[in-house]
């Protein structure tokens, strides 16, 4: 297993409090991990720091073998990973436009973009929603669109923040099914969550965050 | 918790209300008010700044002055919104009297118009005596000309000259600016254009514009200032007494001296009529 991402130390202050104080950390290529921990334990913050959305104090940060010196991942590395919010934000356009957004940002031509978008929409099972504005989607549907939007970019790392929070029944099952697919297809995932079923997915490894420290389970 | 009803307003509010009522009651008890309307030309020259305070000091009457374009001030008089009006368009003033809105017209002063323009004088009108011919030369040279374009006394004089020349003024260089005399002079200065200006306003603005007096003295350029008192029979509430006082003062020797003695850049710009009204 080759290392996807590693650091020797990560610290994050939150006002007076030291929120995170992590020691050596490593995730492997093609592996899936959940990070569990109580609310307020810093799971979300950890993901956001790795995604480059928040500053953090990181020592000996390496991404796919390359050392990261500025404490933030360089541009191209950040485009290699996609962070999905706990309540995903969909642009006020259409589902198709949302899923194709990252491809358009990469400059992929329209025809090719359409093909890939259709594939991702089919994968997520949201084809019947394709022309709808996001305001008309349920929480579960938004989550699936967000996953399709991320998957279409074939990132090296998925950072998912509580993907099944506030979902139950059918919606939750559908999202879990998609994540299971991602795990089976050997994508690298880092998922912050409480969800029993996700934690117990075959192949899923686990970290536990408590009092600012990470324990591998 | 029991609701306590207050009887009347709290003391501070009562005091404020009383003070406000006192102020409002006191206002109308000011000095006698006289509403006068006058055209821009008289204001721009600075003459009114001399005449009005002199009249107020002499009579104890407070003047409320409204300045506007000729059409506007004449309309104020026609509607009885002012007690008297000062302008320089004899036909409009006489119309006020003939329609019964005005009681009587008096001549106040006179001066004249100049044709002014750039020093280079592309139309070659410098020193000419015939204003109408000069306008024709300006037209033929297609030189730049700025018109008041606002139906003011100056504009009406300009239109009269074109009409006498048999010309409809419409060419690329002819600009119709809806502005007062001072602003038109400034514009003519910017454009290095010709324009028609009264002696007084030109004296005030000449230095700023770089324009020169090119033609004067044609009798058709005569410009007369008149005052019309508004008819109290038609409009009850007109302060006819004050208007009467104003007119007597304006036509008195004292005021006439002030008018004739008024100087702009050392020059006399208003002249008093030879005989009394």
């Amino acid at each position: 297993m080759s290392t996807l991402l590693s650091f020797a130390r990560l610290r994050k202050r939150f006002g007076e409090r030291q929120l995170l104080e992590l020691g050596a950390f490593e995730i492997g290529e093609g592996e899936a991990y959940v990070i569990t921990g109580d609310n307020g334990s810093g799971k979300t913050t950890l993901l956001r720091i790795l995604a480059g959305l928040e500053p953090g104090d990181i020592e000996e940060f390496r991404y796919r073998g390359t050392p990261v010196t500025q404490g933030r991942l360089p541009e191209n590395a950040r485009h290699d990973m996609v962070y999905v919010h706990q309540h995903p934000y969909l642009f006020h356009t259409t589902v198709v436009h949302n899923v194709g957004y990252g491809l358009a940002a990469r400059g992929i031509a329209r025809a090719e973009r359409r093909r890939q978008v259709d594939e991702a929409i089919a994968w997520a099972g949201v084809d019947h929603l394709r022309s709808l504005p996001p305001s008309k989607l349920s929480g579960g549907e938004k989550q699936r669109v967000a996953l399709a939007r991320a998957k279409v970019l074939e990132p090296h790392l998925f950072l998912l923040d509580e993907p099944t929070a506030n979902l139950d029944g059918e919606a939750r099952a559908q999202v879990i099914a998609l994540i299971r697919q991602l795990v089976q297809d050997k994508n690298s995932l880092l998922i912050a969550c409480h969800d029993r079923e996700l934690i117990e997915l075959p192949g899923m490894r686990r970290f536990h965050l408590e009092k600012g420290k990470l324990i591998s389970a | 918790m029991k609701l306590r009803l207050r009887s009347g307003l709290p003391p501070l509010a009562r005091a404020c209300l009383a003070a406000l009522l006192c102020v409002l009651a006191a206002a109308p008890a000011a000095a006698v008010q006289f509403r006068l309307a006058a055209t821009h030309t008289l204001e721009d020259s600075g003459l009114l700044k001399v005449l009005i305070p002199a009249f107020e000091a002499n009579s104890g009457v407070k003047v409320r002055l409204s300045i506007g374009g000729t059409g506007q001030v004449v309309k104020l008089a026609a509607n009885g919104d002012v007690d008297a009006v000062l302008s320089h368009v004899k036909t409009e003033e006489e119309k006020l009297v003939s329609t019964g809105a005005g009681l009587r017209r008096y001549v106040v002063a006179y001066n004249d118009f100049f044709l002014v323009g750039p020093a280079q004088d592309p139309a070659r009108i410098r020193g000419m005596r015939d204003a109408v011919e000069a306008m024709r030369k300006i037209y033929e040279a297609k030189a730049r000309f700025v018109s008041r374009g606002d139906e003011s006394g100056t504009h009406l004089k300009e239109k009269f000259l074109w009409h006498s020349a048999g010309i409809v003024p419409k060419w690329d260089g002819y600009v119709s600016a809806g502005l007062g005399m001072g602003r038109v002079l400034l514009m003519a200065g910017e454009f290095r254009a010709y324009t028609l200006a009264d002696r007084a306003t030109f004296a005030v603005f000449r230095a700023r514009t770089g324009l020169e007096k090119l033609l004067a003295g044609d009798s058709r350029l005569y410009n007369e200032y008149g005052v019309v008192t508004v008819n109290p029979a038609k409009f009850p509430g007109i302060n006819f007494d004050a208007a009467g006082q104003f007119v007597s003062w304006l036509t008195s020797a004292r005021a006439q001296q002030l008018i004739a003695g008024f100087r702009v850049a050392g020059e006399q710009v208003f002249f008093i009529p030879a005989k009394a009204n």
Binding site: V84 | G69, G178, L179, M187
Partner: protein, 231 residues
């Protein structure tokens, strides 16, 4: 009943297709729309930058822009006049008493309104919007445009407000335009002229056109609010 007569005359003028009147309306629209077209991209960029970035003097700039919101337009006109007059620093450009001068004046007047609205709009944007864009690989420029699109209703409301401010302003237009018939005479300066001539029918007709514009803006803003974006 002079009032009723005036209003009737005004309607007659409007519908008679009086060329002078419609030229005035056209000039008003042309000048204001071009001024907005020039000012909007700059102002929105400034508003966005003020909302999203931190730099020394940022607060001062925000206070300045908000202070300029109700700055007297005639002072803008005066400053511009001094710059553009023959003896002035930009006199050689010969812009005084042209539509271009009016356009510059109106662009300057509209700028603080547009920037302030854009600033408020972006500040009110969901922070996840920008984060999502960046996370999906958008360049800073693309992410900025995406964020602005997400708050487009609030930004457009600013444009309408800016339009309202310049379409009816008279102080600056009069000073730098000169109210020249067929060239720099727009609706507000024409109203001033007609009023000074005592010709109220024309003034009322033009005033009604302005009111129609104001009403149109009001309705458009109302529709925008209905469609969300402003709460």
């Amino acid at each position: 009943m002079e009032m009723l007569l005036t209003i009737r005359q005004a309607f007659a003028l409007l519908f008679s297709g009086d060329p002078e009147l419609w030229t005035t309306i056209w000039i008003s629209l042309r000048v204001s729309l071009i001024a907005l077209a020039i000012a909007t991209p700059v102002a929105v960029t400034v508003g966005y930058a003020l909302a999203q970035t931190r730099f020394p003097g940022r607060r001062v700039l925000i206070v300045l822009i908000q202070g300029l919101l109700s700055f007297p337009t005639v002072v803008v006109g005066l400053v511009l006049y001094i710059l553009l007059t023959r003896q002035g620093p930009l006199g050689s450009w010969q812009l005084l008493f042209t539509q271009d001068a009016m356009i510059i004046g109106q662009a300057v007047i509209a700028f603080p309104v547009l920037a302030a609205f854009a600033l408020a709009a972006v500040q009110g944007a969901d922070p996840r919007a920008h984060e999502t864009a960046v996370s999906l690989g958008a360049s800073p420029l693309r992410a900025a445009l995406t964020t602005l699109l997400e708050v487009r209703f609030a930004v457009v409301a600013g444009v309408f407000n800016g339009f309202g401010r310049v379409i009816s302003e008279v102080g600056c237009a009069m000073m730098v335009g000169g109210n020249i018939a067929g060239v720099t005479r727009n609706i507000p300066t024409a109203i001033a002229l007609e009023t000074s001539k005592g010709d109220f029918a024309q003034g009322v007709a033009l005033g009604m056109v302005l009111m129609l514009f104001a009403l149109g803006i009001s309705i458009a803003l109302g529709l925008l609010q209905g469609r969300g974006g402003l709460k």
